[in-house]
Amino acid sequence: MTDKINTMYIALSITKNIHDWLFSVMPEGAASIVEMVLIALVYLAVFAVAGLYLVLLERKVAAWFQLRIGPNRVGFWGLLQTMADALKLVSKELTGTVKADKFLYNLAPYFVIVSSLMALAVFPFTKEFQAFDINIGIFFLIAISSIGVIGILLGGWASNNKFALIGAMRSGVQTISYELSVGLSLLTMILITGSLQLSEIVEVQKSGWLIVQGHIPAIIAFMIYMIAGTAETNRAPFDMVEAESELGAGFHTEYSGMKFAYFFLAEFINMFIIAAIATTIFFGAWLSPFGITESIPWLGVFWFLGKTLVLVFLMMWFRWTFPRLRIDQLLTLEWKYLLPINLINIVIMAIIVWLKLTIQF
């Protein structure tokens, strides 16, 4: 075990050396900018690959649910399949419609992918490994995740395709509605932590994960969050936006090649983000259960990713089991059930926090 700790310190010392070297060779302002760019590049590379492997995981999970084997030809156990797919998409011709609004049509995929990559910056993967610890972390996450829908609306509108337009309009309606539930269910938990900063939220959870601290209202909030989060990522049973049996491919009907890949990748990174937020807020982020590995801080990364992947699996499970809701049923669920329950839940949580009825170890 000590070897691993040493390697971790070596890794940290490498980053520290780079930091020191940068600040020694150039003025402070320039060095910080170069450092930011480097960090951004590392994030981009890591999460583009992570997104590809989430796609592979989804295909494997789907295959297990559907009595199939799944991709198993490219690389051992199909591990290189999505890499090959990505290469194929890069090399494909970018076709578009003649009557499309070219500027908005080309802009839309970047809105979607950039907003989902930006959200990744604030996650506390472990105590030292957090790129951007701002004091309004949760607010930032909710705000950033709303930008993606602009890309979907633009894409649907600018493609000059009726199927795409219907998909985009559905997306607008759906995201605006379910954002309320995402925000309010997270707000319920903020009542316990008293801070929007993600690192402080994790500190609070050292005396018990928030889902334990907040007990019943926290569990209700978690369930609402998972339902609304699945809707927020436009995945089945809330995939009204794509609804392949109704709209063909929905808002990205007219996209091909890499532009389609951006939409596709963004969906999977968004799924990761929704699961990662749930991990951070409800399940103690990088904290190990009962503090069993507290002495080895770098294991936090594995705890964080492990918890996130369990939740990602849960969302995949939803997708391959449930039929799709109809658009009016989708809105009924949000406005008539989730939202009132959520509002009552916040009041209950406030009372519990006020009366100090939270469970703390």
Binding site: L67, F163, A236, A243, R324, R326, I327
Partner: protein, 373 residues
């Protein structure tokens, strides 16, 4: 208020959209011209002709043995039953009595075909409402039936097992054993279908009270098969006009009176149970004997008009032959179940959402080559 549209068929807030000919929900090359107001369907106008092969005209050219093979390409999911319909018409016209063995085998394979067809329908209707997993479960069980067919007659889809006067070959020695295995297997799988899809809250919400067809409308539109029976219209040809060995077995006609999509769904699930029961009653009692009676190489039907109807997987399939005494029919008309079932789509889908249209179409179980012969 002045409208800006030139075409006076549309109000300014309505628009039309082409669903098909290439669309996942139309299960083939069917084009639906939808008039939509936002999400709400105002008019459904099916446009046929994309897969027309003029089968009825080709029948006038062919001998009666050849016509049987063309019927495979109509409703390809119940090809055996289509073959049987033509063979029964020809045999009735010739007043030819086929051996009991042929009748029993035809009925067993017909019911297996029905189950296979309903398996596929169950899979794709789940897929139409967004539950993609059902497709593979349905196909797993259909595959077992296809394997039995393959062993029996060499084909999995376009069977060509019937000929006027009997069957092309005798059954394979494994046939009885494998059919029994399938029946035992499938009895455990229909409850699984129910657990996976039927009982699901979202599925129930999508299906219940959607696409309601009253009994009167069902009769006036000529609905047949599960679509008619879902509306309480007792129209099972097997019950009312038994053919082959169906008069020897007891079974219940699946009937529902609600008339909505869920009723049509449940009728089909019930029909799978009934088909299993028919197979079970017959599989141990296949009489010994010849598998065909000899006919002349060139069959000439006596001058006259002949009609025979059978219950295909989608409803009543009628074969109407006018013969002038030559080796080809003067005119041959198929009364296909899909055509009349599709004709009522506009009636039941108007007022629903796009999602409702897809769910309703799934329960009509449309096979386009059957509509567009």
């Amino acid at each position: 208020m002045e409208t800006t549209t030139v075409n006076s068929n549309f109000k300014s807030e309505e628009y039309f959209i082409n669903m098909g000919p290439q669309h996942p929900a139309t299960h083939g090359v069917l084009r639906l011209i939808l008039t939509i107001d936002g999400e709400i369907i105002k008019k459904v106008d099916p446009d046929l002709g994309y897969i027309h092969r003029s089968i009825e005209k080709m029948c006038e050219r062919d001998s009666y043995q050849q016509i049987v093979h063309l019927t495979d390409r109509m409703d390809y999911l119940s090809s055996h039953i289509n073959n049987e319909a033509v063979c029964l018409t020809v045999e009735n016209a010739l007043e030819l009595e086929v051996p009991d063995r042929v009748k029993v085998i035809r009925t067993i394979i017909g019911e297996l075909t029905r189950i296979a067809s309903h398996c596929l329908w169950w899979g794709v209707s789940g897929m139409d409402v967004g539950a993609l997993t059902t497709y593979f479960y349905g196909f797993r069980d259909r595959e077992m039936i296809n394997d039995i067919f393959e062993e029996t007659c060499g084909a999995r889809l376009t069977m060509n097992y019937n000929i006027p006067g009997g069957l092309m070959y005798d059954i394979h020695p494994n046939f009885i054993k494998r059919t029994k295995e399938f029946v035992a297997h499938f009895k455990t799988k229909i409850p699984e279908y129910d657990r996976l899809l039927t009982g699901n809250v979202i599925f129930q919400k999508r299906m219940k009270g959607v696409g309601i067809l009253t009994k009167e409308d069902a009769i006036s539109f000529g609905a047949s098969g599960p679509v008619g029976r879902g509306s309480g219209f007792s129209c099972d040809v097997r019950k009312h006009h038994p053919y082959s060995a169906l008069d020897k077995v007891t079974f219940n006609e699946a009937l529902k009176t609600e008339g909505d999509s869920l009723a049509r769904y449940e009728v089909r699930i019930q029909e799978m149970w009934e088909s299993l029961s028919i197979i079970e009653q017959l599989i141990d009692n296949i009489p010994e004997g010849e598998y065909k009676v000899a006919t002349k190489a060139v069959i000439k039907l006596p001058k006259g008009e002949y009609y025979q109807k059978v219950e295909a997987a989608r409803g009543e399939l009628g074969v109407y032959i006018i013969s002038t005494g030559t080796k080809n029919p003067y005119r041959l008309k198929f009364r296909s179940p899909g055509f009349s079932n599709l004709s009522l789509l506009n009636h039941i889908a108007v007022g629903g959402k796009i999602g409702d249209l897809v769910a309703t179409m799934a329960t009509l179980d449309i096979v386009v080559p059957d509509i567009d012969r």
